[in-house]
Symmetry: C2
Subunit: 398 residues, 2 copies
């Protein structure tokens, strides 16, 4: 049954007068989120107090929600757990993978990876000592750069700036052929495109929930460990909730069963509540349908912009097979143009040095929204109305 996108759109709260093309950075709120969070605060924390850990299911939630996220990324049951931030989960995944491939010392990544992934890998190499190093190549060289020195290939499937998509199954196969493990960051994949971790034979995967999964600012991250590794992987961040028996309070660490060992500290209960509400939108939704509709919206936008509001260059590949859920254009005045757009209620974002990003999320964005966004951008470019001092002042966060 095809998705009724008008019905899913009605599940989201979108501010009046806003066309939100930035769900690739922070997804909007589902209408049930405020009441769900309020319940976690007042009815659970307020009334149950410490008993909430059992009675309200707070302790189990990172696993139960993990299975719901798992369904959206082709993960086997019981292989995904929520918690911490994406940077922390990257560290755990890469550290575990390096530990499983001890003769090799190179982490291979690409320049399209989100910088925090690179920074965390750098910090891990430094902690592990001088022999380890991070090698960063251009995205189009990622596949060919996998050689027999590489311990771990660490890539983000969809480039945060250009929207360029790697072929996960092919790169993973190549990594395995060369004796390396593959860690995939699904920040721009989960909830955006069909992902099949099991079929791709990914070793580890990580991602965040506040983009396409709409869990709200600072929502928990997730980590996936392939079932074949789950009793072998050793989390470098070995916290008490990853212990085999957290409430025995033993003095020495024993890793928990399977994915549980990737838990670290106390879960953020209010953020989990918002995620729980947001995940209900996905029940029965097939990511193939979502991505197909996203590509339609993207094509509509690209065509409109190229004919009516030309930018310097389309940064996103034209091939549907190499696209995620966003479209990026380059323009030397990209920052000011984006500020002018936002002032008109069309929210996308800017990434240095010259990228304008637009996310196409069919659960709450439709053809009318895209047509209006094109109109607004065309007007701004026609009148040069981006060329004002107030649009050129850069804020701390953009």
């Amino acid at each position: 049954m095809p998705i009724d996108f008008a019905a899913t759109k009605a599940l989201f709260h979108l501010p009046d007068g806003v066309i939100y093309l930035d769900g690739n950075s922070l997804g909007p709120m589902v209408k049930t989120a405020p009441a769900r969070v309020e319940k976690a605060v007042s009815a659970e924390w307020g009334e149950l107090l410490i008993r909430g850990w059992n009675l309200a299911g707070w302790m189990a939630q990172p696993r139960t929600l993990g299975d719901k996220v798992g369904r959206l990324i082709g993960a086997e049951r019981g292989t995904v757990v929520l918690g911490d931030t994406l940077s922390i989960k990257v560290y755990q995944a890469v550290a575990s993978a390096l530990d499983m491939n001890p003769r090799r010392k190179v982490i291979l990544s690409d320049s399209g990876n989100f910088p925090s992934d690179l920074y965390m890998a750098e910090g891990l190499c430094r902690t592990l000592g001088g022999q380890y190093r991070l090698r960063t190549v251009a995205p189009e060289e990622a596949m060919s750069a996998i050689d027999d020195t590489v311990a771990v290939v660490m890539l983000t499937e969809v480039d945060y700036r250009t929207g360029r998509r790697h072929h996960m199954a092919d790169i993973t196969a190549r990594a395995h052929e060369m004796g390396a493990l593959a860690v995939w960051d699904l920040a721009h994949s989960a909830g955006a495109i069909p992902v099949d971790l099991a079929a791709a034979k990914a070793d580890f995967a990580v991602g965040c929930t506040y983009k396409y999964l709409n869990s709200g600012p600072g929502g928990p991250a997730f980590i996936y460990v392939a079932p074949r590794h789950s009793e072998v992987a050793r989390p470098a961040l070995s916290g008490w909730l990853g212990h085999e028996a957290p409430f025995a309070f033993d003095l020495t660490y024993r890793p928990g069963q399977g994915i549980d060992r990737m838990r670290v500290g106390t879960p953020a209960v209010f953020q989990m509540a918002a995620l729980e509400a947001a995940l209900e939108v996905w029940e029965g939704v097939d990511l193939h349908d979502v991505h197909r509709q996203s590509l339609r919206l993207q094509d509509q936008f690209i065509k409109g912009v190229e004919s009516r509001a030309p930018m310097r260059q389309l940064a996103t590949p034209r091939s549907h097979l190499m696209r995620g859920s966003q479209v990026s254009f380059r323009h030397p005045e990209g920052y000011a143009i984006m500020q002018a757009l936002i002032a008109e209620g069309v929210i996308g974002d800017f990434r240095a040095p010259d990228i304008l990003r637009f996310g196409f999320t069919p659960l709450y964005i439709d053809e009318d929204d895209v047509a209006r966004a094109v109109n607004v951008l065309a007007k701004i470019m026609d009148y040069g109305s981006w060329d004002r001092p107030e649009f050129k002042l850069r804020a701390a966060v953009t």
Copy 2:
């Protein structure tokens, strides 16, 4: 001006019929928390969307709230930042400290430290490689065990089970004398007892906010770095928000200024909102007054229990100088006794193998509460009403 404890009590929501002696595990809700969190969800996320990072101050909050927490622990301005969980902050602090003392390979801790701290240190040693090790001694030997092999002394100031308090300034002085650095876990100190990190010359400190600071389940942790180390310390977990220029999206990591480098990933905005509300209770409150009143309540409880409901043994030191804000008793049937108490509305908690813990938090617990708690415990012990099968069934979380 002395604290008006009746007035502070009125700021908290406590469920009907409950005497809450478990603020040392999870503090109760301040009455303003639900509206504050609701604002972060509906008015900020819902309406501002991505613009909330600037317009609602989400990005700055870990630092602004850090200064508020800092005031309660004697930290210099600009030396405390919030984020992640306590386990993650322990890892960062210990890794930074080891990095600053590279010739030595021993982390010294004690068996009264919270197990997650020990587990994180174990994981760090394993990651750093074979030369590093964690040495764990009895709490009363912690001071004398500091020798010239020790790189880092890692202790929790107040023992989570017994409530026994270390002398932070003396142990830190001894550590420095022997060429070691001191990392203090303030989980059971912050908001419970006067702490003066600057005067004690602590090198690093970490803590959580969901106990005595009442931020709610999964509230953010904090980390302190002494100003003399702030430009030297290198966080092993080097995430993008700890970068000198997070929004430049450089490919290589450069640590941020001072305490900012200890930030990792995106802050949990809803949890921060609850913390913000909770911290307002502390404005103008002096921890000396709070602790003095806590000791009065503790003494009242100890006297009541010893005369009317004898346990096997008081686990907490009798000396006021060696106490935090909790009182613990040992009893072989401690688990069942605690379940019977909870069934009667007196909430404390149990820690294996035989510890009953009771927290005395004068901001919302008064003499009447203590008298009633003693009465309930005396009744349970008199009638042996803990000796029922339903009280002996252990839940997953206790």
